[in-house]
Symmetry: C2
DNA sequence: GTTTTACACCTTGTATGCAACATTGCTCCT
DNA sequence: AGGAGCAATGTTGCATACAAGGTGTAAAAC
């Protein structure tokens, strides 16, 4: 039986995009995964046209790419691209906190709530929810600071980061990440934006450090490494 | 007679996007301007399908928006959206410079070259080229620093800023802007990234200060203001 | 047995056709 | 004359049809 809820793809043209982004943030779609137009059109109960339009938007957001007449694929950033992405994130998030004036109590409360949800997901062992919330914290932060433009940019960058983490088998501990989120909020609560920015910088450096740039589970990279390794 | 060069829209699917972005940066398309699918399809000699796909990407990049069954329009950011956009830019560009290690002589040279081109365009009175180069400086900076991700984000943000400047009748002087660009390069050359970041912060605050949030040349806002003004 | 080649299948690329709806000018009624 | 309703027109929304090309398989040649 088909999922009835999906039929609403007509009314909300962004549903397909949102679902894919959410699935990526939750770790339910992997980098390199193929997303066929026909396949998606059946899942969402619409024609290829709408799927294609959604893919175009996702392409512009740097989440998927197309290989001519082969299909759409979730991005598999190279090591260099991964660095650039995380660097961009660090620039954006550090800049965001540095240029911040003051965080209101309401903001602090909302962020604390989010971290509580993270802890709950970690405790309950819900990997998808955990992955989603840990990534979404940063989007939430930008939203809370009241800037939807930043939030939107961050959503794309964090989605890419999650994919990068999956591709390079991040060893980053969820507990640690969650703790660092808490620390950032502490600094914000004390009104010390500079300290918050510093902690964010450290946090994102941890994210990058936890990557294993050797692992590259991408088919191509994997193959290349295998051939280089066996040949000599 | 039709422009033959446009026929290449087949070979480069991003041509339509690029042209519209370039036109916006050059001040040749105004905020609120209507971009009809049919109209564009004739200009580029392709079917509406390709035009539509390009518009989808531009929509995801925040350059155009669609009004159901009325058409595509270049964005007309509200005062709030304008602030958010410029704030996001400031966060990004300040963060970018703060987290920068060192600028190589080659980078400095390329940037100086760009500023020289700006001066030339200003001197020759080529308004479109001037507008384009002044905006593109920031993209160029990110590219020069070697981060295409940042460059891409910045292209979209500066395009939006240029549209905002047009909408709110920016009084920012081209000479001044160009001078500030030079100052930033000076700081980079001295290896003082912090100072460069500070100057960038000031520069972008100038950009915002130069806006006249009262003017709002949007049709709707304009009309509303006109009616309020004459009625009392 | 191995290599080459031809072919069938599957996927995206692009155009076109029709439906749904917003706008606008006209007509008819008051 | 003024206003309400209606029809004509133009635009996007969405689906479908067909074209172009990539991939893998199987047959055939060596």
């Amino acid at each position: 039986m088909r999922d009835v809820a999906e039929k609403d793809a007509h009314k909300n043209p962004h549903l397909i995009e949102d679902r894919i982004i959410h699935a990526a943030l939750s770790g339910r779609v992997a980098p390199g995964e193929r997303l066929g137009e026909k396949e998606l059109s059946e899942i969402f109960g619409v024609s290829r046209t709408l799927v294609r339009e959604a893919m175009m938007r996702l392409q512009a957001r740097g989440i998927v790419e197309v290989s001519a007449r082969r299909g759409w694929f979730v991005i598999e950033p190279s090591v260099e691209e991964a660095r650039h992405t995380i660097d961009a994130r660090r620039a954006l998030e550090v800049g965001m906190l540095v240029t911040l004036e003051r965080a209101s109590p309401a903001m602090i409360r909302a962020l604390r709530e989010h971290v509580r949800a993270e802890q709950k997901a970690i405790a309950s062992g819900d990997r998808a929810e955990r992955s989603y919330l840990l990534g979404h914290f940063h989007v939430c932060l930008a939203e809370t600071l009241g800037n939807p433009v930043l939030a939107s940019l961050l959503q794309d960058l964090t989605t890419r980061t999650v994919l990068i983490a999956a591709l390079y088998q991040s060893s980053h501990d969820a507990h640690e990440s969650c703790g660092e989120h808490g620390g950032i909020i502490d600094a914000l609560e004390k009104g010390d934006a500079t300290e918050a920015a510093r902690l964010m910088d450290v946090h994102l450096r941890h994210v990058e450090k936890a990557l294993n740039y050797r692992s590259a589970s991408s088919r191509l990279e994997h193959l290349k490494a295998a051939l280089q390794g066996s040949g000599t």
